[in-house]
């Protein structure tokens, strides 16, 4: 255990957030980048180090907790969301970060995942999606594409994958975002946004596992393909992508359409302007995944897909307690012990 000295938050650097434990991910693992971005962003969040709590499940991704010099619990497979709910409900002042994998969050922890989104605790939920079970050495996961050949699917998986952002929106998530390990700046931006947002901030991080599922997200980071295959969302900005930023997305009724707006001499303002608070549109954007609209393939969205604050569980719980207490007052233990119907024997 490291010798820990108390330092004022203002002087903190990323070093203050790295624990004394050796990081044991494979060389080239995307998890390194995520760790680095978190450690880069944290000193500037204005939160004292002792207020941070990491709760993770089980998986390569979940080892994350051991590498952060904050409070943390590496728990059991799939249950991080449930444990984090208890942490946040019992101490709403803590800054709670859940770290989970695609299997941890969406397979064994699927039930907790959807209920966490619905309950909307004020915490951050990072899913390192590598579309594979890595710690158990390479089986298909609930985000692996259909036909995926793995050790447990030598003839190809016959399962349809989850689309995590669509799932989260369906489960009433109030903040849905996506970023990727190979774009540090983008990840830092999303992490900051997640932290600022009051509610359960769901951050899906595309994470490369060079050992069991290499280059699964290559298309979104490789120079050759990135501009065509990925679209980076910004609130209040038009949906534009393409090699020369020439393509835009528009809505034709309720159907998204790709237009070459430069060729058509259209102003970008005529395109679909991203509105993070518009759930209907967020639902459509989240489906830029495997849905073809009128036969057309759409680029994968990155950034904040949806963010609309609504009351958070921990605050509602605290407020209810305050309200009932104000109305009824605290009951003394003696009166609880006696109840309201007693008799005496002399």
């Amino acid at each position: 255990m490291s010798t820990t000295t108390i330092e004022p938050t203002s002087k903190m650097t990323s070093k203050d957030f790295s624990s004394d434990q050796d990081v044991k991910w494979c060389p080239g693992c995307g998890d390194y980048s995520i760790l680095k971005q978190v450690q880069t962003v944290f000193p500037d969040l204005g939160i004292p180090r002792e207020q941070f709590v990491f709760i993770s499940g089980i998986g390569c991704s979940s080892r994350f907790t051991y590498y952060m010099d904050t409070y943390g619990m590496h728990s059991i497979h799939g249950r991080a969301a449930a444990i984090a709910s208890g942490v946040k409900a019992s101490n709403p002042d803590l800054s709670v970060w859940v770290v989970s994998g695609d299997g941890d969050a969406l397979s064994i922890g699927g039930n907790h995942f959807i209920h966490l989104m619905r309950k909307n605790f004020n915490l951050n939920y990072l899913v390192f999606n590598n579309q594979i079970y890595s710690l158990t050495k390479g089986q298909y996961s609930p985000t692996s594409e259909k036909g995926k050949v793995t050790k447990s699917s030598p003839y190809g998986s016959v399962e349809e994958p989850f689309n995590p952002s669509e799932l989260a929106l369906g489960a009433k998530a109030s903040f849905v975002s996506r970023t990727l390990d190979r774009d540090p700046k983008h990840m830092q931006m999303v992490l900051k946004r997640a932290n600022e947002f009051k509610g359960t901030s769901f951050v899906e991080v595309y994470q490369n596992c060079p050992v069991f599922n290499d280059e699964a997200f290559f298309a979104y980071s490789d120079k050759e393909t990135k501009k065509e295959e990925a679209i980076f969302l910004e609130h209040g900005k038009p949906l534009i992508f393409g090699h020369n930023d020439e393509k835009g997305i528009m809505l034709d009724g309720i159907t998204p359409k790709i237009v070459n707006f430069k060729e058509k001499n259209m102003s970008p303002t005529e395109l679909w302007i991203h509105d993070e608070k518009d759930k209907t549109k967020a639902n459509l954007i989240s489906r830029f995944f495997d849905t073809l609209f009128e036969g057309e393939h759409f680029p994968r969205p990155f950034g904040v897909i949806y963010a609309d604050e609504r009351p958070v569980y921990d605050e509602e719980m605290t407020n209810q307690i305050k309200a009932v207490n104000a109305k009824k007052g605290k009951q003394s233990l003696n009166s609880i012990l006696s109840g309201d119907k007693t008799w005496s024997i002399n």
């Binding site: 010798t3 002792e50 051991y66 619990m73 590496h74 449930a82 019992s90 209920h115």
Partner: protein, 624 residues
Amino acid sequence: METLNNEVSQKANVIESESMVVRFSGDSGDGMQLTGMQFTDTAAMLGNDLSTFPDYPSEIRAPIGTIAGVSGFQVNFGSKEIFTPGDLYDVLVAMNAAALKVDLPRLKKGGVIIANSAGFDKKNLGLANYPPDVNPLEDGSLDNYIVHKMDITKLTKNCLTDSGLGTKEVERSKNMFVLGLLFWMFDKSMDSTIKFITEKFAKKPDIANANIKTLNAGWDYGDNTEIFNTRFKVKAAKLPTGIYRNITGNHATAIGLIAAAEKSGLPLFLGSYPITPATDILHELSKYKANGVKTFQAEDEIAGICSAIGASYTGNLAITTTSGPGMALKTEAIGLATILEIPLVIVNVQRGGPSTGLPTKTEQADLLMAMYGRHGESSIPVIAAASPSDCFNADYEACRIAVEHMTPVILLTDGYIANGSEPWRFPTEDKLKPITVKFLDKPNGAEGVLLPYKRDEKLVRPWIKPGTAGLEHRIGGLEKQDETGNVSYDALNHEKMVHLRAAKIEKIADYIPLAKADTGKDKAKLLVLGWGSTYGAIKTAVRECIAEGGDVAHVHLHNINPFPKNLGEVLKAYDKILIPEMNSGQLLQLIRAKYLVPAIGLSKVQGLPFTTTELKAKIVELLK
């Protein structure tokens, strides 16, 4: 003592009795549980000792009139000490044919039957599977009993003709008629029930008035009709002086948690998922928002315990409550709490199993699961409650051990004592044992190094709250290195940690009461060794046997892991040991294995508690 405000009727004979057992039986929709509870509250407040046994089906409303839909409430009240709801009843209220069919076998010969004849029409008789044209109220088959049959449905209707209430509401009031009649029969004041009705229906005065009117009509019916020529009088019991309340086991469990939270100064957090017969603890605790109690109804039992683990981690007194099937779901998380070495109380209100089993019936079959139901070497304390009010003590003790010894603790109660009730001479705040909690606030190792798994003389590690500056550290389910708590795969370290965790639990034996005879002498021919809810039945049986000259004693185990330190010695003082259990012999295995004594088991796995008669028969046989 309150005095009865109704003079004993001149017309009827009054029979004095030391104790009486009444069974209210009817359709699930007939309100028998409420009727029984009201009768019980009154008896308790008038000074009787008592014990109750609600016995209801798992279907909320099985088809009306069927055997499956019969709901019963049994109360044994007396002027002497009462420890069980009674084997056989003196009075049976049968609201329909099915109720009579189900409950007649346990009515004493010569006992009283109060039957609602409206529930014995052709349709009801058919639903209760009586052969065509057979009506037990008419055919002389009940000649050995005192039968009072009356059309309670019609009598209620007649008394409420002008009430302006609909047929349904009128129909629903008929249990009040029964209650009024029984209050007359047992010469008990109706004041408490009238107060209850007035409060319950404060916003619906029509209904309150109708219920009170019907209650009075029941009383008057007893007083005015010639058919009732006998009344019973059960005097107040000579209980130890003090102030009493009536309490069910689940209610006592809930209060025990609140008391432990107050005494330890910790916030209380309950993470739970509804399941019979444990749900009432969640219901009860949810009422105490004004006291800051946090109840979290999780999405399943796993989330229930995991949220509690999260709350314990932040420094709350954290609880999860459940029953058998939910317990099965929690096992992995209990293992996590065991290796994290954080306090947690897991309440298992046992019911009949395996699987969904008998949801509303009682059993003690989760003992070995509590002891061993986790993977890996993972010993944790197990405590069992002996009676409804003892749920308070056991639960308080579970909390104390959990926080003072930094460990998950399993508390076993069961459906029988969870729903059953008894008078309780409740403690006042100042009489409760202190619970000492200390959070680490600065590094505990040399040179300012934090050692989260450094142990004190009890082998207990410090509790450290997130938010404490300078003590940031990580814990987890991977094996911990001794003292530092860092992940360690070292073979010998693992063995050491397994031994340390086990030794920590064994050491708790230094901080719990020794075993001693509850009834009878420290040395005798036969020892009846019990645990959990069999307490009342064993105590009654052993007392009666001793009164009849039997050389027998009763020791009851409250702590099952670890056992009291002197248990081995205690056992040696008896020639024979009998262990009655509502399972196939689970404590029996533990005792035989640990103490190498030839204990004899008595097993009952019928979803029902032991009767005193059953236990006495076995004791007498072994004393021969």
